[in-house]
Symmetry: C2
Subunit: 437 residues, 2 copies
């Protein structure tokens, strides 16, 4: 592409679609000055007429007609979901039109296939907004860090969960009350399952890991635990031990050619920058063999931050930059499958909380079981008994194998003086800088 | 450019030049896989034969011959300084060869002119490594945040100063001792003047502000104070008041069309992320009207982090991406001068430390002078007298005008019961998110 005018069609006029339309209309002059290109908003296709709310936006109800309009060069899909959105993207790509999307579910499910389709038709897909909202993370991974062998990627990529965990940590709220707060603040949907189950984070991790490790990762490759079963007690104990609990998405190189992929509540050292990320913000740490540790922080969702990323994609396509890079870089490759470390082979440190009868010998029984499974203790926190018959015993371990820990927990839950089940969370130590060179 | 082989010449084989040569040689296969392009290192031009230390690098001593080699398509200038480096870059650009440089001094001095020369000869300049080392900051400003009207840019962009300040803050060292520690750790040069005077940060700010505000800013537009006259006492008092002292480079939109530009030691709230950036790391906060607050963190200097940025530039040029964007975006414009707010018109909060005789009425005299200059107090910290006759009095103010504060200080320094000069530092409050939309 290049100088001149570029026709744009937006599909969907929800929160994000409306935000993108607003930015395109309001910043048209600024963007033309910066890029020499006039971004002309041709159509905003939206079935629901009640959502035709952006003043001056050229609304229509037929997405197909808008896509097929020969003046449409870029189709911006902001419908969401894996149904109609996927069909409309296919339609656009088959016509050789470029696509911009924020649809992480669709990319996690069908990314490699859609990217191949795009390449086949000399089109490209911009997807900066699919992960970490307004943070220019994907562009940084693809271009700014291209010289690096990535060793690890560790991130807070779901703002809803981070908001809930921040409320629980700072104000001692229960999960249920914190979720209600998130709803009131507009950070949680009526049905928050996709967020709190960790699935949303896993979909983003599938995309980010594919880019970082030059291979295809699927959502199903990822071990996922959400925050919905977290007990505020464990956040409190974590704090006493010098940690903060965050829902982290982690992809890490393991040995020569494997990658571990996981999303779960994680104990992060209180002085780690990720521990200090509050509210609905996102942050992603990347460790490259040349660059060392870099971190990106910003708003991972919301109308205008997401619009910022979408419009950036539109501009890069209009400049001709993304089509060139997309053509030559085999992003989300269809044929290179990531070699994922089986989760039971993961090495990690662990936080365990047991509920024990206040009687002698319990800890000895527990440490015996742990020792038999090659798990050694790093710290133990045991309070004097209160009125209740049971007391919490918190244990942190040195590095151990996940499979061994799970086996040990089965046996521990059988110990008579304990009230099962034991709580098990994972602890992350910051990946080493320059570990891979 | 595109698929095939691209010839590269590196000028200078110092720390960074050697690092880039190493990355190009070691990652040649990985980069070819990722981009479909073979990056062929043709020449490393270095006069000093003792620096011909990278195994397998094609060394030569004549930079001119290396540039003129018709196979050389990209010239990587890593000599530094504003002399020979500038002449060699000109020579390359006049031949239509693309240039990659990490030379902030040269860009702050002659950037607009060299960029115009590049455009004239259908070449481009990659300069990601000129600011904040390995952090993909410039690329993010130019592309990822392109949809934003930038409201403010606040950064720690000099790792030497941040290392020294971190040592002073955490271990209570004097400036002189902390500087010595920085030298021993390899973070300060034999002559650290460029760093500790704030000039290096100012040169980077000139480049970053030019990009953020679409106008030409020169180093001479920037108010600059270094860290070399800082007293550990003030870092201690700042800590007691809930602040950390950092050398910040700040560019902020002021009203409709002005920008304030400054580099000085600054009191940052302890819970601000910039306060928590330790050691030689860099971090830059950017506030955009659409994206809100984003922050980039990483190593701002060093052999391999800088090489990461340089090689990223090489790849983007080889892909043809940077030439396209450079052609269409008028980066570092020659003809649009930034409207810089006169420094005396700056509104800020202030930290003042006075050294007072322990006798009644002193504080009353000081507050009277401040009041006459429309400066109101926010907090006062006064200790009981110790053995010495003099006691420190620390004052923080509400928002006041810089010119008024300077006038007040002249009068305060004349008060008989005070030992001049008063110490004056500036306090930053986090810029408001979404302030400009």
């Amino acid at each position: 592409m290049g100088k001149g005018s570029i026709g744009i069609t937006i599909l969907g006029s929800g929160v994000i679609g409306g935000g993108v339309a607003t930015v395109l209309l309001q910043q048209r002059k600024l963007l033309a000055e910066r890029t020499g290109i006039d971004l002309e908003l041709l159509h905003v296709a939206e079935l629901d007429r009640e959502k035709h709310t952006v003043k001056g936006a050229p609304y229509c109800t037929d997405a197909g007609v808008a896509i097929d309009d020969p003046r449409t060069r870029i189709v911006v899909e902001l419908i969401g979901g894996t149904g109609a959105a996927g069909q409309l993207i296919e339609r656009a790509l088959r016509l050789g039109k470029h696509v911009v999307t924020a649809n992480k579910s669709l990319l996690a499910l069908r990314g490699p296939e859609l990217f191949a389709l795009a390449r086949e038709h000399h089109a490209c897909v911009g997807f900066e907004a699919s992960c970490a909202g307004g943070i220019p993370l994907i562009n940084s991974l693809i271009s700014g860090l291209v010289a690096n062998r990535i060793e690890a990627l560790v991130g807070i990529v779901n703002g809803t969960c981070n908001f809930i965990l921040t409320q629980m940590t700072r104000h001692g709220l229960s999960y249920a009350v914190a979720l209600e707060e998130a709803r009131k603040a507009g950070f949680a949907e009526a049905d928050p399952t996709l967020d709190v189950s960790g699935r949303d984070a896993a979909q983003k991790l599938a995309i980010l890991a594919s880019l970082a490790f030059d291979a295809r990762a699927a959502e199903s490759d990822i071990f996922v635990r959400g925050i919905d079963s977290l007990d505020a007690t464990d956040l409190k104990f974590a704090g006493e031990l010098g940690y903060v609990v965050k829902l982290l998405a982690i992809a890490q190189r393991e040995g020569k050619d494997r990658v571990s992929l996981r999303v779960h509540p994680t104990l992060v050292h209180a002085d780690d920058q990720l521990a200090q990320v509050g509210g609905s913000f996102n942050a992603v740490s990347i460790y490259g063999n040349s660059v060392g540790h870099v971190l990106f922080y910003g708003r991972g969702a919301g109308r205008t931050p997401t619009a910022s990323a979408v419009v950036s994609d539109i501009v890069q396509i209009a400049l001709g930059v993304t089509p060139l890079a997309f053509k030559q870089m085999n992003l989300l490759p269809r044929d290179v499958k990531m070699k994922v470390l089986p989760f039971e082979d993961l090495q990690s440190r662990y936080y365990l909380r047991l509920t024990a009868k206040d009687e002698p010998g319990v800890l000895a029984q527990v440490t015996k079981v742990l020792g038999m499974h090659r798990i050694s203790l790093s710290a133990v926190l045991q309070r004097e008994a209160n009125a209740s018959q049971f007391v919490p015993v918190v244990i942190t371990t040195h590095q151990a194998r996940e499979g061994d820990v799970q086996k040990a927990l089965v046996e521990i839950d059988k110990i008579k003086s304990l009230r099962p089940p034991a709580v098990c969370l994972r602890i992350i130590d910051p990946p080493k800088e320059f570990g891979g060179s």
